[in-house]
Assembly symmetry: C2
């Protein structure tokens, strides 16, 4: 298949849902109204840490239009989230400013808001702890007293080879500490849901979740806890205005909506304001990383050692599992035989953290790739040459037991260097500089759950139009379009002939969720194999009709034809109708559940996490204003090994989007928490790069045609974000000789570093 | 499978959708509102036959809130319906009072109605013809001038054996003429639809159609005619408040909604009032039937000859094809070796006719079974004995080439006679009488279209809950519940574990429609085979897990177990999760397209129309008031060979419903058309039997376990209606000695007949 001429795969096909979105016809959660629907609102905590002494809801209950008021003591005792440490409504204690204390359902959002303001809560404020290092100290306030410690019982530890010995034998060693900040996903569509029970107490949940199948299971568990046994839960996904990992879990507001709907027997909608979206959703956690790397005299990496502390916040979501993905670049970005990594997730009175695009990889890669430049310098090597020497190659098995199959890392690094005119531009130290950083990411799924599978069902009508039910979720990345391309390519039909249905657990097969850059690979393969089943059936039947060996038959442009005999052909629709209208006829349908043959980590956190790995390298040329500390990106080159670009335009969109998110991460974005209080929770104060801030990003697509990917493709959803910060940091160092080790790289930090460097120089002088 | 003990099949399980319906949560077309939706209204003709001279829409267009006004000359030139003789909006000529002349879309139904009243139409009235016999005469007004004749070019003619010879050799011959009236379906949910285009001009049609797949094709054809090529059409079925055949076609109002939506770029809803439901939907046509039957000296039927004239009305829908189904009782009700049948469908200026429960069978059976009593009398035989002598039997091949497999006709006739205490009660002529009539109907599909198939897709989750996507449509008969029972029985789960999805062409596989009593048989088999695929897969995998031969494994009550070794068992959910969570795991899905091996008629209208046939006999005891002519039903016994009763309660519901509809047909219902004008188009004047009018109907279920039916079941949707009228007519004859040969049997007709009979007696005296 891959060797044949492709009709649709590789073509720039606009997103199928674009016309609906630009004309406002797409139905976001904001647009959905159900008959008799009520509006829910949540009262959050007044303190980051405190004891709830009393809640008086009487005044709220009396307000006309209020249909229900709930508090922690009036709901069943359940805890939710990855470690089941988070009650939907808190009782006894609050542990962060985001803690949900009470909720109302009312006939309008305005009445609901007014009711919230009428709820009186008495607190006893408790001393808080807002820094994970402080939180680990003896005598620090405990977030969850019953756990006896603020350190989560998640034993993140990876040991490969013998780091101590390698350290002793290394020619050059560098060591440093890197910090990253809190950032948030900034989905343009705010969070929301509608919970609706039918008369049988079956629940329909309208949601913009990234994990419909897992969320369904969470809700069923909750219903069981509420005493509603053996009920059906249907998750209907609205059009989703961005996910980026923020919707990889179920959250208190969803259970609050469910409880309000149960109590009122009416559908209840909770829709976040932009302010809530900032302070009441779970951000990317901040990290503190100690890294040490060494190489031998020839510049070959000998070891990498990292210790990391992550601020978990007050409760636990999937954010606490990001160290598992961080192990990937730590163990397998460049050839490094000896690796040691430990990470501690620590409870604090901050907001609790969640997955975000890259899932820890950007934090880890910032430390690794900054340290790579430091080590190259220590070894007296050009950072480009140093990277090329250590770059990963096809056929490698990394210390964590990743089996590297397709690998275009060197091609990416070379392409970036060439485009940047690296040799000429590196090392001028004249206020302009170039820098680069590489990345590895899972490109063929990631077995972080018991299954990494995705199901597809396809049916084809009498005229060659198909409906594809996919488990996968399109959160704006364009997966529906890519799946349509794959199916249309296999069946030799046009993209308009494919209808992708992806938004209803009643209809769509199971899928573990949209994360880990897995959708094109996993859902794509699932769709591919289902389509191939149908194609095989068509060709077999038509081979009898046409009297031609099936091996010589194919379908293109809606015609089944013989590749060796022009006389033998039949319009696809005619063939389908012949199959259908025969006595005992049939209409073709097929299903496929594709679960990649990747591995869950063993107890030592080793195993082939993904069936294939994506590589890339970003390079930037910067100009640093020594007076203002301002960084201007002059050139940005992003090279990615994507296996095969199924839709180059959408793929570039992912790289652009990732790059821009990376720019924000590198240069400006930061959630400013002071003693647990978010100080810049709005788009005026929390600045994401806008179109005018963004330099042109030049993309280079390296196609390695992965043997396991659909038409050779690998994942590209997250990689674009991963190397941006270290590439920029490295370029700044090249430009002005200072290295900023904590993100974001603000002008203030550059000025301070320049000043300190000046002082150093004076000292040296 | 059939031989095993059944858990759910055969049980009285309440309809799955009953709680939603009784609490008002079910969403009928009446309940569906789309954002921005407009309301469409139709202006109908002022005359049954006339020339449209001018239409002035200016005043309507100027009315605030009116968004579009359409007339026949402002829409594309298309014709719809079974013979493509019906433009959605008429131009040039109107041919019935129901003719659609103009339409508006406005912001409310009230404004739309007002606008309709502001449209001025000038007509030249033309002479009409309202009787098919008149319409066939030389010089009668032509409905469609271009056709040169009012007789439809549908050559309904069935000839089996040699009728002339049989006639000559018969010992007894009777001949008579029977008439049936116009009746209508009286669906409690009136007709309606919403047409909605997205920005890509793909159409979503919310509809209560009985034929989602065929309607989809009709709409696509229309879009093509409107210049919208290669567009997707999605038909979403609301909960349907009754069908009875009325929704077996697409109608002008649907195309009008589409055209208004296209013009306004907004969703347009057209919802019929009760009055429109009476005069602007297509009724069961009236028939005039000449029948002659003969038998030999022993009372064995020798021949049956029938000539029939059907009033087609002004246009053609599937009503014109009912003679094809009438051939079934004509050729195959009782053993009759020689058969001749011709039918003519004739255009008139009446409303055009459509299928209705029984699809012509009640009209034909009224003549046949009335004539059977006449012939029995002529031969000096008891009508019960006469029927038993001629009853069909298993293994028979009828003159039309129907292959009779399971057949419980004799059991039905015997059971009715016994319950009625026939021998004692027959022949008293004291104002009380008993009568009976039998029926044959298709019970295993009916190949009236190129395919008689239905598709099913099933997916099962980690806990043994399944979603079933069926092509079939539940119009209130309870097919969703029956399908759920079948799937739950196969998979050994509970009825609550099965979710049936049946309302969306995007999701549901193809199905020819809900008609011909085919859903339990065809959709049931389709679901059965899909479920069996999944079961086989589960058992195969579990046999490895448990180390047990697959032949000894089964599933009951959610447990996979060995039938020979109690130690070997595993909860179904656990088995499914083990299958899912294995590396390269899978979640089980299966599909099946089941098309019964029945045959389209050949050119001589012969062939095995159905895979199996349903039989039954109804018997009544009546009391006739000689002074008022009023008929009181004292006893009503309905015996049906159903193969197997999957859900006896729902099955009895079908028999009750059919019986009640049959009572209305026999004794009171009639659409009174005078010169093409419906005079009683409302529930005050058109009286259907209400609960208080209905006698207790005693049902007798005869189970013959059909070899091809799902768990042995055959269809039962229509049969309950078929023999009611002749059974009553025969009982009246037994009671008071008069035979009413034209339906309905009103007190006036009885009095008139009694009077004539009295006069006869006087004459004789």
């Amino acid at each position: 298949m891959n060797g044949d001429v492709l009709s649709l795969v590789g073509k720039n096909i606009p997103k199928k849902d674009a016309p609906l979105k630009v004309t406002g016809q797409a139905q976001y959660i904001q647009d959905i109204k159900l008959p008799g629907m009520l509006w829910g609102k949540i009262l959050y905590s007044r303190y980051p840490h405190g004891r709830i002494l009393n809640i008086d809801t009487k005044r709220a209950e009396r307000l006309p239009g209020v249909k229900a008021v709930l508090t922690g003591s009036t709901i069943p005792d359940i805890k939710i989230g990855f470690m089941k440490d988070n009650p939907p409504l808190k009782k006894g204690k609050v542990c962060s400013m985001r803690d949900e204390v009470a909720a109302v359902a009312a006939t309008s959002p305005e009445v609901a808001q007014e009711a919230i303001e009428l709820i009186d809560v008495e607190y006893e404020e408790l001393p808080g702890v807002f820094d994970p290092v402080e939180a680990m100290k003896e005598g620090a306030p405990l977030i969850h007293e019953e756990l006896k410690s603020n350190v989560l019982k998640l034993p993140w530890k990876l040991i490969c080879g013998d780091v101590d010995r390698a350290k002793a034998e290394s020619a050059y060693i560098v060591e440093d500490t890197y910090k990253t900040q809190w950032v948030t996903h900034c989905c343009l569509g705010t969070s929301g849901c509608i919970a609706s029970f039918d008369v049988n107490n079956n629940l329909t949940m309208y949601s913009n979740t990234q994990i419909p199948s897992l969320a369904q299971r969470d809700y069923i568990d909750a219903l069981n806890a509420f005493g509603l046994k053996n009920k059906r839960v249907r998750v209907v996904q609205s059009v989703i205005g961005g996910g980026f990992g923020s919707k990889l879990d179920t959250y208190p507001y969803e259970y609050i909506a469910i409880l309000l709907a149960l109590k009122t027997r009416r559908p209840v909608k909770i829709l976040f304001t932009r302010e809530e979206e900032f302070f009441a959703t779970s951000p990317r956690q901040c990290t503190l990383t100690k890294i040490s790397q060494g190489c031998d005299r020839e510049g070959r990496l000998t070891f990498r050692e990292m210790e990391m502390i992550l601020d978990n916040g007050a409760y636990t979501s999937w954010g606490a599992t990001t160290p598992s993905v961080m192990m990937m670049p730590i163990s397998s970005l460049y050839k490094v035989p000896n690796v040691r990594y430990t990470a501690k997730c620590v409870y604090t009175n901050n907001n609790y953290s969640q997955a975000m695009r890259g899932y820890g990889n950007p934090q880890a890669t910032f430390a690794i790739e900054s340290s790579m430049d430091q080590l190259a310098e220590a070894a007296g090597m050009d950072p480009y040459e140093f990277r090329m020497k250590n770059a990963n190659e096809p056929g490698e098995v990394t210390p964590q037991r990743f089996k590297i199959t397709s690998c275009g890392m060197k091609e990416c690094i070379e392409a970036v260097a060439e485009k940047l005119n690296w040799k000429e531009k590196r090392g001028r130290h004249n206020g302009r500089g170039v820098g680069m950083a590489s990345l590895i990411h899972v490109g063929g799924g990631a077995r972080v759950y018991k299954s990494d599978g995705c199901g597809t069902i396809i049916k084809i009508d009498d005229y060659g139009k198909v409906d594809v039910f996919t488990g996968s979720t399109d959160i704006g990345q364009g997966s529906d379009t890519v799946i349509a391309q794959i199916v249309a390519e296999v069946l030799g039909i046009s993209i308009e002939d494919v209808n992708v249905i992806n938004n209803d657990t009643d209809v769509c097969p199971w899928d573990v969720g949209v994360h880990a850059s897995r959708t094109t690979f996993v859902a794509g393969n699932s769709a591919l194999y289902a389509a191939e089943k149908i194609k095989a059936e068509i060709l077999t039947i038509v081979s009898h009709m046409l009297g031609e060996d099936v091996a010589f038959l194919d379908i293109k442009n809606g015609v089944v034809y013989s590749k060796r005999d022009k006389e033998k052909s039949m319009p696809l629709g005619k063939a389908l109708r012949s199959i259908h209208y025969a006595t005992g006829g049939k209409m073709l349908m097929a299903e496929c559940f594709y679960d990649p043959a990747n591995e869950n980590f063993d107890r030592e956190f080793k195993g082939n996490l993904s069936v294939s790995y994506a590589y890339g390298a970003h390079g930037v040329e910067v100009e640093v204003d020594r007076k203002t500390g301002k960084v201007k990106i002059l050139n940005y080159v992003a090279a990615h090994d994507v296996g095969r670009a199924i839709n180059p335009m959408l793929l570039e969109g992912q790289i652009f989007g990732g790059g821009v998110m990376g720019l924000g991460y590198a240069l400006g974005e930061e959630m400013v928490y002071i003693n647990g209080v978010l100080k810049n929770g709005n788009f005026l104060d929390y600045k994401i790069p806008t179109a005018k801030d963004v330099p042109p990003i030049e993309t280079i697509i390296v196609e390695t045609v992965d043997k396991d990917g659909p038409f050779g493709a690998k994942g590209i959803g997250e990689p674009g974000l991963v190397p941006t910060a270290p590439a920029i940091s490295n370029a700044i160092y090249d430009a002005v000789g200072v290295r900023i080790k904590d993100l974001p790289i603000t002008p203030e930090k550059i000025l301070k570093a320049l000043k300190e460097k000046g002082a150093e120089k004076l000292d040296e002088a």
